[in-house]
């Protein structure tokens, strides 16, 4: 029996599956970095682009072998993230909040220029080696990439939550988030703990960039996706990894629905309008720690 599913329902469900999954994956990256080092990395979107561009290069080098190229691209992106944290961002962490925001914007602009200089402005393509056919299941239509996006999000959240719960790094990172100088006094190597957080965060971004780049193409517009996910992360709570999953899925449904009805511009307005509402009425998000105060 083939159920008849209307296009709106199909787009909402598949949108929540794929776009929500990707938003969640990107959100985990933001949350991991913010939890540990108190930096909102506005260059996070650029790590999506770096991951996808690197994959297109590595695919050429590895003669289309995805099993080699994809892990290599993620690792290389994470190394870039760790270098940027250790060499640049770390020196400003704990000073003025606004300086750190501006700093990550500066890094973002510099990365985008570097990518354009290396790769030019024409679009590139990088597949992830999944079958291209569409799946019909219970009346819904979706692609293998949609499944991959959702699977990556779930695996990413579970992996990072497990790391935070069960490893020494997780305990250290929570100590660092609570009080950096006290954590250092107790012998926690704050630089190394922060660097691991950045490696995980930028690695998650690279994975999201690779999947997203495979659905469309590899271009600098991937960098904009990073900022589009901010409403979802704020909704979930900036310092909550689980909240990033919930917020990402909620925003994924909202954006894909509104895009279907009114087009991408209306979707952008709806997404950021929702962000303003969340910021005004629920600044700490659904699952975040209450840190704001009413003045």
């Amino acid at each position: 029996v083939v159920l008849a599913v209307s296009p709106i329902v199909n787009s909402a469900v598949v949108g929540s599956l794929s776009l929500g999954g990707l938003f969640a994956l990107i959100g985990i990256g933001y949350a991991t970095i913010y939890r540990t080092t108190r930096v909102v990395n506005f260059a996070q979107g650029d790590f999506l682009a770096v991951g996808a561009f690197l994959l297109s290069t590595f695919l050429g080098v590895a003669h289309g072998n995805h099993a080699i190229a994809i892990p290599l691209a993620i690792a290389a992106d994470a190394i870039v993230g760790v270098l940027i944290y250790t060499l640049i961002v770390r020196r400003l962490v704990g000073t003025d909040e606004f300086s750190v925001i501006v700093l990550t914007f500066g890094i973002s602009i510099a990365i985008e220029s570097t990518l354009t200089l290396i790769y030019g402005s024409s679009n590139r393509f990088a597949t992830v080696g999944l079958p291209t056919g569409r799946i019909n299941w219970a009346g819904f239509q979706f692609s293998w990439l949609d499944v991959a996006a959702a699977a990556c999000a779930v695996i990413g959240v579970v992996a990072i939550l497990a790391l935070m719960r069960f490893t020494r790094w997780g305990v250290d990172s929570r100590a660092l988030a609570e009080n950096p100088s006290l954590a250092a006094d107790f012998g926690i190597r704050t630089g190394a703990v922060g660097a691991v957080a950045w490696a995980l965060g930028t690695g998650a971004a690279a994975l999201a960039g690779i999947v997203y780049g495979a659905t469309t193409n590899v271009s600098l517009s991937l960098a904009d996706v990073g900022l589009v996910t901010l409403p979802g992360i704020m909704l979930g709570g900036m310092d909550s990894v689980g909240g990033a999953l919930v917020g990402g899925v909620v925003m994924g449904v909202l954006i894909s629905l509104v895009t279907y009805v009114g087009g991408p511009d209306v979707a952008t307005i709806a997404g950021y309008g929702a962000l303003l509402v969340v910021l005004i009425f629920l600044p700490q998000g659904l699952f975040g720690l209450r840190r704001s105060r009413v003045v």
Partner: protein, 340 residues
């Protein structure tokens, strides 16, 4: 003469700025005109961020609001004064909306809310262009006086210098008044400012409205200057460029904002000259000029924040201090300080 040393310095700068248009070529004057317009926006941002301590990333949203006000209201182009006034009013209303989150939020969250406002304004502008069938943007007649005379070339530049001069005069006095001091109080510790009779919520809203109104005004001037406006002109990078201006200048310093906007406007010109000296026939350089420009901007932000957070104003203060010390020493009044 009832003028302070600082005031005298500003007068000298004003005279030099006026004379500058008589000794420069017409092509250099276009850079100077852009500098004057950007300086208004940079001063407003440094008041908001540097003086009152409220971070804003979405500065180009208010520029866009001012520019689109001039483009969409039919009688706004009858006189440049009408355009400026309308840009300021609509920009101020936008600032009131953007400032509302500042009643509850601080620091990071406020920066994100201005980012959200930017994307909303930008998408609205794009929708508008699609719906009214203006894919190439809106055309705007040049700046006119009441008499209908068109301001061009040197006259337009001198007009803008006058606008900046009036603004600097007003803001310097405003910052020394009760209002300006309440802005400082909010930056230092908003929760405690109530003790000194400063209502933090109202104060934050006033500074947001004031700053956005002035950026809206400069947006109106920008529209009159460029002749056409299109949503693509008001990129997020432009907003970051304004932050770069106040970072170069040193946050909170009026002179620094003017110097910083000059540096940001003249940097592309400078890079172009360097490129031409290095290799005049390079296709690569001419094709990637804008990309290189933004790369240098980004790198400059990183380097300045890491190694010189005080900006030009900090450097100026340091040099003054150094000069003072040298002067004291020359006059033989130098004494080593004994630490207790």
């Amino acid at each position: 003469l009832p003028v302070s040393a600082g005031g005298l310095g500003w007068l000298c700068v004003l005279v030099i700025a006026c004379l500058l248009c008589y000794i420069t070529s017409a092509s250099t004057q276009t850079y100077l005109v852009t500098w004057a317009i950007y300086a208004i926006g940079a001063i407003s941002l440094t008041v908001l961020t540097g003086v009152a301590g409220l971070p804003s990333i979405g500065n180009s949203a208010f520029l866009a609001i001012g520019a689109y006000t001039v483009a969409l209201i039919p009688f706004a182009t009858t006189s440049v004064f009408v355009g400026m006034a309308l840009g300021a009013v609509v920009g101020g209303v936008g600032g009131l909306i953007a400032g509302l989150p500042s009643l509850r939020l601080r620091g990071l969250y406020l920066a994100v809310s201005t980012l959200a406002l930017y994307f909303i304004v930008y998408s609205c502008a794009q929708l508008l262009e699609e719906d009214t069938n203006h894919p190439a943007g809106y055309t705007i007649p040049g700046p006119q006086l009441w008499s209908g005379a068109l301001l061009t070339g040197r006259g337009w530049y001198l007009f803008l210098v006058a606008v900046v001069a009036v603004y600097v005069f007003l803001i310097r006095n405003l910052l020394r008044s009760r209002i300006g001091r309440s802005w400082l109080a909010v930056r230092e510790l908003d929760s405690l400012s109530g003790v000194f009779g400063v209502a933090p919520g109202v104060t934050k809203l006033t500074v947001f409205v004031f700053s956005s109104a002035m950026v809206g005004l400069s947006g109106a001037l920008l529209a009159a200057n460029s002749g056409t406006i299109i949503s693509g002109d008001f990129s997020l990078q432009l907003g970051v460029l304004f932050i770069l201006m106040i970072v170069i200048g040193g946050a909170g310093s009026i002179g620094g904002a003017i110097a910083g906007s000059g540096a940001a406007v003249l940097l592309p010109y400078f890079l172009q000259q360097v490129g031409q000296r290095a290799d005049p026939n390079s296709m690569w350089l001419s094709q990637n000029a804008i990309v290189l420009e933004y790369g240098v901007f980004g790198a400059l932000i990183v380097v300045l924040l890491l190694f010189y957070p005080g900006g030009l104003a900090g450097l100026g203060r340091y040099l003054l201090l150094l000069a003072g010390l040298v002067g004291q020493r020359l006059r033989g009044r130098w004494r080593t300080r004994v630490s207790p």
